[in-house]
Amino acid sequence: MLLNTFFLALREIRRNVLRSFLTILGIVIGVSAVIVMVTIGGGATAQVTDQIASLGSNLLMIRVGQHMGPGQSSTAPSFDLDDAHALYREIPAITAVAPSSSQKVTAVYGNANWSTTTTGVDNGFFSVRNWTVQSGRQFLDSELRSGKAVCVVGATVVKELFGQQDPMDAKIRLGNFSCQVIGVLEAKGQSTFGSDQDDLVLVPLRTFQRRISGNQDISLIQVSVAEGRSTDKAKSDIEFLLRERRHISGSENDNFQVRDMKEITKMLTGTTQILTTLLGAVAAVSLLVGGIGIMNIMLVSVTERTREIGIRLAIGALEREVLLQFLVEAVVLSSFGGLIGILFALAASIGLASLLKIPFIFNPGIMVIAFLFSAAVGVIFGFFPARKAARLNPIDALRHE
């Protein structure tokens, strides 16, 4: 009987293609809106997470100074190399340390010049910040020790200075000294905060201190915390050690700050997730409106088909058979709308994702949910018109014009 009813319903839908299409339009729009919003939102969240992971997970950044209000300035002393070594030595949870110092410098090659950030680093920087050398190599220990004039350049610098040329072994000018390019970094793209991560030149720390800054200061120490070790514990250990080394008494505030990338990750993904949920909720409202549209059409259809219902009842259809027929019709219609909506949403999400340059992540869960929801819309909003149809008095229904 159920299969029979299903075919009866299909026949009804086929008999009135235009009306059926208009009926499901609301569902199509609702379902595809929900899926597109959630898919795009998921893509954006994944992108943020990816970018932060590319900075290096378990990353702690230690900077000089403290949170300042407007008009205040920091007079805190810089770190030095001994601080970095002490951290590595004293805190077992730290697997890598990358002391660094940066300065804005104009890089020149031939006729091209480009203002970029030059950072003095040691090889720890590559592992701590998840940088991969795409071609060439990292620094040799001898180069680091002697402060040789060599550099590893980021993708943006390569593009601006060399264009299509091969940068390997070329000599570029950084401020007032020239150095040889020994490696090119793999591109990372834009950071979550909107800055270009690939716009940098790396030189050995000693080279930087001698040729560019002229002092022994280190402005930033980045450390990796071992996988599975608490970053909070590492953070408090670092704070304790540095307070001691910087002779800060118990009542004074820190004159440095330790930042945990995980906190930033959490905050940012939290924000995008809230946005996704909000957008999804708005889209869900449109799905609800689509459901009311179905109820409307089904009610009209019941009135329009009163005589037909009368014929069916007179012939001997049971109340529940008529109920089932209309219910199945509504469910088939809305499920059909759900299917079209899913196809439409797939196309739209792929298009939008490539337009917004965010990854397209296939999310089968939301499709199943959207489909089930549309079917449920059919059951719920189809029920009242169906019951109205089934409860008609056959005599009155037959007389209906």
Binding site: M1, N4, L8, R11, R15, N16, R307, E308, G310, I311, R312, L313, A314, I315, G316, A317, L318, E319, R320, E321, P394, I395, L398
Partner: protein, 240 residues
């Protein structure tokens, strides 16, 4: 009031002191006032009377579409008034066939599918459904018209489809409410001849409401209604 002939047959349906009241209180309208009527198997009964005489109400009760306010309606010794809505639907499904004045076919649905409809509710398998529906259409002279929709058929043809739909289940009783009301005389006579042949050749009991004397002549018995009561009930001389 009943003739000798009827007591010999087996009683198929019987109304015992049936009244029907519509509305309540001062607005109450008594459509039937204690009707007694017995119809036997194989009869062809024409029910006549002016409008408002209660003949349609009587048909609705006989067709199990309505229940009496007072009195008993026995269908094959079963009291219909005591049945639930669903039980009455099943009774219609298995024992009754309906033909209406307005044909009442499903629009945009082929003649074959219209005739198949009662078989669907009986749960008959597709192949058997097709062959039985085609046979029924052939019986009413519409072989070759299976895939035409009501919109493509004349009034007479539509009524034939409706008759095919009513007899495809081989019902015990065929109830026809003004079956020729929307047709011209030539078409009406064709329909009446068709009904007569089903009555005589297949032994289907037919109860027909009509206001045309000419059509009533085809029946074997004429029941005259007036003011909710049976005024006259006599065998038709012509067909006896």
């Amino acid at each position: 009031m009943t003739s000798q002939l009827q007591t010999e047959g087996h009683p198929l349906v019987e109304l015992q002191g049936v009244s029907k009241v519509y509305g309540r209180g001062t607005a109450a309208m008594k459509a039937l006032r204690g009707v007694n009527l017995r119809i036997d198997e194989g009869e062809f009964v024409a029910v006549m009377g002016p409008s408002g005489s209660g003949k349609s109400t009587c048909m609705n009760i006989l067709g199990c579409l309505d229940t009496p306010t007072e009195g008993k309606y026995l269908f094959k010794d079963v009291e219909v008034g005591a049945l639930t809505r669903d039980q009455r639907a099943l009774l219609r499904r298995h024992h009754l066939g309906f033909v209406f004045q307005g044909f009442n076919l499903l629009n945009r649905t082929s003649a074959l599918e219209n005739v198949e409809l009662p078989l669907i509710y009986r749960g008959v398998k597709v192949e058997e459904r097709h062959s039985r529906a085609s046979k029924a259409l052939a019986l009413v002279g519409l072989a070759g018209w299976e895939y035409h929709t009501p919109g493509e058929l004349s009034g007479g043809q539509q009524q034939r489809v409706a008759i095919a739909r009513a007899i495809v289940t081989e019902p015990a009783i065929l109830l026809a409410d003004e079956p020729t009301g929307n047709l011209d005389t030539a078409r009406s006579i064709e329909i009446m001849e068709l009904l007569t042949s089903f009555n005589q050749e297949q032994g289907i009991t037919i109860i027909m409401v009509t206001h045309e004397q000419q059509m009533a002549h085809f029946a074997s018995r004429v029941v005259q209604f007036q003011d909710g009561l049976v005024l006259a009930d006599k065998a038709n001389g012509e067909t006896l």
